[in-house]
């Protein structure tokens, strides 16, 4: 039985990889620019923003949680950097931004675990509040983020290095994402924290009665998700030299789509970070390819939605496939011209 399950997991990963290769192949056929170093680099930078948040969202969703407020949180963190860079210094502002994001994550966690509000409602409320605060802080404007006065060149150089620096030719945001991802995988596989997230997502009542501090683990998962939005905001702001209170609209949908595509169940207790990576890659490749086609950018929305439906829908059909296949066989097996069924016996 165990073997069957393991094969099932492998099959899922394999089908995701095939899907990814297929998309890459189609995109490379459609346009010559796809495989250029510049495009791949851009694509990977896109992956890094979504990816960093997706790593922590995956862990949160495995524990049975959900966070729709990451995009608003990210925008707020960016705007805090833009608004307070002059008063506090850029690096301090960046730290404060990450702090605020983490705090918002913690607040989400507190409301969900201690007050007991449904996560969907909590994070919708937080989404609205954080986006509103971002608009208030930035007064609705996009704020420039670079050394306006020329007085703190060193600090700014360091800050922008975060977004533009390279290690062995690989952009720093990507390095950071990969590092977080690897740490995440190790944590989920080998530590009590990872084990706890799976257990709580699998059965919160049983975990509590086994003596786990369900609330604390959940709280940490929400807090870390907020933290990841802050990190993503810093890297994005450092790279773009600007902070937009309307930044990253609906990135939460992209993140959730990628995570679910990668095999995490909304009910929790199931999924892996490896799956999430594949999900993120598939989604960003698809979106990037569509953009290169210079088709209307809005086609991306359609594609993203269809991919999500397809992935989940196919999964649904696959889990019920045994009866379905049998049905196919029996109908095929009937000699032509004979009535399909005459009611039993």
């Amino acid at each position: 039985m165990n073997n069957r399950l393991r094969t099932r997991g492998l099959q899922e990963a394999a089908s995701l990889i095939v899907m990814l290769l297929l998309i890459i192949f189609v995109m490379s056929q459609l346009t010559d620019v796809f495989f250029t170093a510049r495009n791949l680099r851009n694509m990977m930078l896109e992956v890094s923003t979504v990816g960093i948040i997706a790593v922590f969202t995956t862990m949160l969703m495995i524990s049975g949680g959900l966070d729709l407020s990451v995009a608003a949180n990210l925008a707020l963190a960016g705007v805090i950097i833009g608004r307070f860079q002059a008063d506090w210094g850029i690096l301090q502002a960046a730290l404060a931004a990450v702090g605020v994001s983490t705090l918002i994550g913690a607040l989400n966690g507190f409301l969900v675990t201690y007050v007991g509000i449904n996560p969907l409602i909590t994070t919708i409320g937080m989404l609205s509040a954080a986006r509103g605060i971002a608009l208030v802080v930035a007064d609705g404007l996009t704020l420039p983020v670079f050394d306006l006065t020329g007085e703190a060149t060193d600090a700014y150089t360091l800050f922008h290095q975060l977004g533009e620096g390279e290690i062995a030719g690989v952009p720093l945001p990507i390095v950071i994402m990969v590092v977080l991802l690897i740490i995440g995988m190790l944590v989920m596989q080998f530590t009590t924290y990872g084990r706890a997230l799976y257990a709580i997502g699998g059965n919160a009542d049983a975990s509590r009665l086994a003596g786990l501090s369900v609330r604390r683990y959940r709280m940490i998962a929400y807090t870390l998700t907020g933290f990841s939005a802050g990190i993503a905001a810093v890297l994005l702001t450092a790279r773009l030299y600007a902070a937009d209170p309307k930044a990253a609209p609906s990135i939460e949908l992209t993140v959730i789509t990628a995570v679910v595509l990668g095999g995490v169940s909304l009910a929790g207790g199931k999924g892996t970070l490896f799956g999430t990576v594949l999900g993120v890659l598939i989604l960003t490749t698809l979106l990037n390819g569509l953009r290169l086609q210079s088709t209307s950018t809005e086609l991306q929305n359609i594609a993203q939605g269809l991919v999500l439906l397809l992935a989940v829908g196919l999964d649904q059909i696959r889990t019920r496939n045994i009866n379905w296949l049998k049905w196919l066989r029996t109908t095929r097996a009937l000699p032509a011209g004979q009535p399909a069924s005459n009611g039993g016996n």
Partner: protein, 337 residues
């Protein structure tokens, strides 16, 4: 659904506060919240308590109010529909494109716009009820797809819908009352009757409370869900037509985030996301609270950006207090769970 056998809950000691439980208390809380909000704004702005201003609020109620009906129905069955904002945008776009580009009479175009919402709702329902994809995922996907479709069809352009008969829907008045408000109130009357007095309405509560019980009682859960999502899509499209009529144009960007406002109003009104619980009266009060809050903030000349903040906070506070109250009554009630 409760399978584990618990210690039976003893009847709580009958006290003079016994009537102050459950739904009734939630409704009273809501109305109190509403009154307090009004009182606060009345002290801040002389204009707030004028009839003119109330008519103003009334004009803004229609869209959220109408879409919230569909949302309440969906939430009562234990589902959710995140695609209502996109559907609202689509219906406006479909209507204007058919009218301006294809030369179809506006009346017919509007009906087709409405039907586009019906179709999307039906597809949502099909995916949820027949293919059995989680409603959150399904409607998250259709949110994306439909918004994209609206952009593709309109090529990202805002289209004129300047027609007096059409504008009457969103801007007109009958006996001094906004038409959209009258339509909204009539829809509420109809759907309150449906939810309380028809087999269909009661079945929705049964389905949300226990899909198993409903199925075992021979209720077709699939058919009911299909109808509910289709209704929700249609009502969202209708809301979209009112928006287009108010703006005399259709924009693919219209009604972004409408789903959040609508869910906030519905949940504020006491509908449970777990399904099986909720009333349209509560939803109506929820819509009033959110709208008056918006209006009051505008009156007091606070930056419109604060409206999002306050909206989010009110939602969290309202639901949070409700949770805390539940916990407290549970503790006081004793012996439960």
């Amino acid at each position: 659904m409760t399978t584990s056998v618990r210690e039976p809950r003893r009847t709580t000691p009958s006290s003079r506060w016994a009537w102050l439980r459950g739904d009734r208390l939630t409704t009273i809380n809501l109305v109190l919240t509403f009154v307090i909000i009004c009182a606060v704004f009345a002290t801040q702005s002389q204009y707030f308590l004028t009839i003119e201003n109330f008519l103003n609020v009334g004009r803004t109620l229609g869209v959220v109010g109408i879409v919230a009906i569909g949302m309440t129905l969906v939430l009562v069955t234990g589902g959710v529909d995140l695609s209502v904002g996109s559907v609202a945008a689509l219906s406006g776009v479909v209507t204007s494109i058919l009218w301006t580009k294809s030369g179809i009479p506006l009346g017919l175009a509007a009906v087709l716009g409405l039907l586009s919402g019906t179709l999307v709702g039906f597809l949502n329902g099909y995916l949820v009820a027949v293919v059995r994809i989680n409603p959150l995922i399904t409607t998250l996907a259709s949110l994306s797809i439909i918004r994209g479709l609206a952009f593709v069809m309109s090529e990202g352009q805002t289209n004129q819908l300047n027609n007096d008969a059409f504008k009457f829907l969103g801007r007109g008045e009958i006996a001094g009352l906004p038409v959209s408000l009258i339509i909204m109130i009539s829809l509420y009357v109809i759907f309150i009757l449906v939810m309380s007095y028809t087999q269909f309405g009661r079945n929705l509560y049964a389905i949300g409370g226990s899909p198993d019980a409903s199925r075992l009682a021979g209720i077709s859960v699939t058919r009911h869900l299909l109808i509910v999502y289709t209704l929700c899509g249609t009502l969202a499209a209708f809301g979209g037509l009112i928006i287009s009529s108010q703006l005399a144009s259709s924009a693919p960007r219209a009604a972004v985030g409408l789903e959040f406002t609508v869910i906030a109003a519905t949940v504020l009104g006491g509908t449970s996301l777990a399904g099986g619980k909720g009333t349209l009266i509560g939803t109506l009060v929820g819509v009033f609270i959110l709208r008056v809050l918006d209006n009051g903030l505008t009156q007091t000349r606070i930056s419109s950006f604060y409206q999002d903040v306050v909206g989010g906070l009110v939602l969290l506070l309202a639901v949070g207090f409700d949770q805390i109250r539940l916990k407290l009554t549970d503790k006081l009630g004793g012996g439960r769970k």
